[in-house]
Symmetry: C2
Subunit: 496 residues, 2 copies
């Protein structure tokens, strides 16, 4: 293991965090609302500690890095999120009304992984500067996810290569740091542009600068933190509440598509856009499910709302869940069980690879479904040869097995995770649905879940070990399983 | 489509059903308990109708059958279970206290698929002759499953071939009817022997002939119907209640292993026995999970039972669920959520291929887990070549992809099934856990589920369309998905 590389990269990460904390501290100092002085002190203190730690690490790792080997890459990716959660928790620990250590780490992990689950029971009691840090952590997390995707996940993912064609040399097994930098910069430019466009739209809808920026940062990162207890439901009463919901839903939808598609769109390569099955599937799923739930709700006697209102409510929730953002507007916990079951499926599926969205990714769903259809046919026509193409890439048997393995493994982890949550909460009267919801909400980086973790609830009733376990699941989900799981498979380390 | 073959085989099936019904009618006539006269009339009437239908079909299909082509095989397998459910429902319709048509079909399907879910709220109100028919339907279902396995499923399954080696020519793609008959006869002989051994054991424990035979027929078929409302819990108060539970648990465990392993054991081919990963895995899972739950329950303050009692309760329930029998002794609905989550996982997994057990089968779990471990390693060591061996058979990439597809598809059907159940029950106040439980209990052919479908509850509160849908899921689960799903994939029918 080359510890110098580790120290240098992680040190740079901590410096970035430190600067961001200081920026939030500056906002808290300039802000006029009461309580922000304490927030400023907490944020500057945290920035100082983080800066110190980062500087030490960089000092340890002095020297030029040509190339990050696989093994070091895996460790950096895993440790990067863990360190972010640990140092990012400092402001929550230091600033009144204070969170406990496990709650603070949970909240920070929930931020950097863009999960958006919270242990804070009353957001309006917290200073605005600290809530800004909360939103910034998600926005930074979004950057981390895009860089991670370019550097690692695109090798594991399926069907992302066609967009990368000519973009950079993603056909080869290893990518040089220079190539990674180029592609990552393209994605980040798109991320910044969407962020700014989102802020402008929300300002136009009448939100204050603070609220517009806060919600934009958590919308483009599909994080879902909001400074309001009622989340986006805060604006439901506004005359243009529908416009705010619509605008945010469009941003959430866009940020769940493979970001490189926008680069391709700008260059008017329509042939390549047309190849992207996952984008079509994702939008199709959102439209069909929200229509279905909208019709169902408007026909149900217990929800005396018209079709238009039902569609408005279902569209926002469906996009919010499918994009793994988790913004709330309607309490879907009151919806019939079949709507909740559909939402649970959306939670598992998530968005497209190459976006900030979580979940197991639509690409994998497409490969899995196409592959299953082939299997069913092949069971009765054994000599049939199939060619499986997803996003313009032919999927060979190995990639097919890998993808379906991923899908099944993802579901297995959800089931086993529910067992662990139930064990950790044994004696607290937790029910099965809440156990499952806790895992779904965190592993797929959604935020809210079901039952006792529904959209109007929060994670504050869970015990410390459970919160730490769920924080781990957030990171596991963000790394798309493999990067962390490999640490537990001894054979993977042999002969390195 | 060769309708002659269809008519002949299905006609023979109906004749078999008719004879079985008449036998139960004879028992009802000879039995001394009140109310059995009506049962006799109902059973003889049903037998007559079924005999008539069977004779007509055989008359239509006169002629010698050399070989059943694939396409006809699929239709026979699917229609066989549907026809059994339809004609098998007649006694429930005709005999007081009567079931409605959907309830009767559900009960009959639950019998022939060896699911064991029931819509009967008070079994003790029904005549013994009819409850015997209920048990016989499961025992016949067990025969059907074994024949089906030999004829069709062993091609779809994974890792069953090593036991078949020298047994019959299962290496080739097509099997002649003669070969199928040989292997099927071996399995059925084992089935009969275990049935008789089970009856002898239960008689030795002091059960009446009627109860011993009833419970034996539903134990060896892993069906789980009992003539008692309290199921096996009826015997908990007996002095040798533990011996009855232990004996039944051993039978359930044995009947969840690949039946051909007993043929191999008799011939003392220990090398082949040792190759069987799935058998080792299945027994290991039962031991580990029941130990875990036993320890958990004895440590939990809310269950003031000693370790021995806790282990007795957990062992019986774990084996009952893992073997997909569904006999009840303890109300596991009162257990902590993590125990229920573990039981839910056992429900999905089920027993070994080549047994009467349901679920997605341990063989597939083993392939999936081994394959996932390989994937995780391969993600970081791309040049590593793996050789995957399960039950002595090398698993190639195609079999691997097929198996993991199956696992993921199985889980997808559970999720989508829950949505459908929720939709069909919309407005009845059904919760998410009950929706999921309904699908799990029926698709995996378990019997009891969770929440409103827990071990002390039944399916009588569900609406007619829901019951019909769940009856369909039982058959889908029994056919291990492919045989029915193929009907919905148009491409599978093309060019036949
Ligand atoms: K989120
Ligand atoms: K059963």
């Amino acid at each position: 293991m080359n510890y110098r590389i580790l120290a240098k990269v992680l040190g740079l990460l901590l410096l970035l965090l430190s600067v961001s904390m200081a920026a939030c501290g500056l906002f808290a100092g300039l802000d006029v609302v009461a309580g922000d002085h304490e927030a400023m002190v907490a944020l500057f203190t945290s920035a100082g500690v983080t800066f110190l730690a980062g500087t030490i690490l960089i000092f340890v790792g002095l020297g030029k890095i040509e190339k990050i080997p696989r093994r070091e890459g895996v460790v950096i990716v895993g440790l990067g999120w863990v360190l972010s959660a640990v140092f990012g928790s400092l402001p929550y620990l230091l600033c009144p009304p204070h969170l406990g250590w496990s709650g603070a780490v949970f909240e920070a992990a929930s931020g950097f992984t863009t999960t958006g689950s919270t242990v804070i029971t009353d957001l309006e009691k917290w200073p605005r500067g600290l809530l800004l840090w909360r939103a910034v952590s998600q926005w930074l997390g979004g950057i981390g996810i895009l860089v991670l995707f370019v550097a690692v996940l695109s090798y594991l993912g399926v069907g992302s290569k066609s967009l990368f064609r000519n973009e950079s040399s993603f056909q080869s097994g290893e990518a040089s740091t220079a190539r990674i930098r180029d592609t990552a910069m393209t994605l980040l430019k798109i991320y910044f542009v969407i962020s700014i466009v989102c802020v402008i739209g929300l300002r136009a809808c009448g939100l204050s600068w603070y609220n517009a920026v806060s919600h934009s940062m958590t919308a483009v990162s599909t994080g879902g933190f909001s400074p309001h207890n009622a989340s986006i439901g805060y604006y439901s009463g506004w005359g243009n509440g529908w416009a705010i919901e619509l605008w945010i839903s469009v941003i959430m939808l866009i940020c769940s598509l493979n970001f490189l598609i926008f680069a391709v769109v700008v260059r008017k390569r329509w042939d390549r856009v047309r190849e992207q099955n996952d984008v079509r599937w994702f939008i199709g799923i959102c439209v069909v499910v929200s229509l279905g739930i909208g019709i169902g709700l408007s026909l149900d006697d217990r929800y005396s709302i018209g079709f238009v209102q039902a569609l408005r409510e279902s569209w926002f929730i469906v996009v919010s869940i499918a994009s793994t953002t988790g913004f709330g507007a309607t309490d879907y916990e009151l919806w019939p069980a079949w709507c909740k079951a559909l939402l649970a499926i959306l939670m598992v599926v998530g968005g497209c690879s190459g976006s900030t969205a979580g979940g197991m990714k639509v690409n994998r769903l497409v490969v899995f479904l196409k592959s299953s259809a082939h299997e069913i046919i092949r069971a009765f026509r054994p000599n049939q040869v199939f060619r499986l193409v997803v996003n313009g890439n032919p999927i060979d048997e190995t990639a097919r097995a890998r993808t379906t393995s991923f899908v099944a493994l993802y579901l297995l982890i959800i089931a086993l995770g529910a067992v662990v949550v139930g064990m950790l909460e044994a004696g607290q009267g937790i029910d099965l649905e809440t156990c499952l919801a806790a895992v779904l909400a965190t592993l797929s980086n959604i935020g809210p879940g079901f039952a006792d973790l529904g959209p109007t609830e929060n994670f504050s009733d869970l015990r410390d070990p459970t919160l730490t376990f769920l924080a781990g699941l957030m990171i596991l989900g963000r790394l798309e399983l493999f990067a962390i799981l490999v640490l537990f498979v001894p054979a993977a380390w042999r002969r390195y």
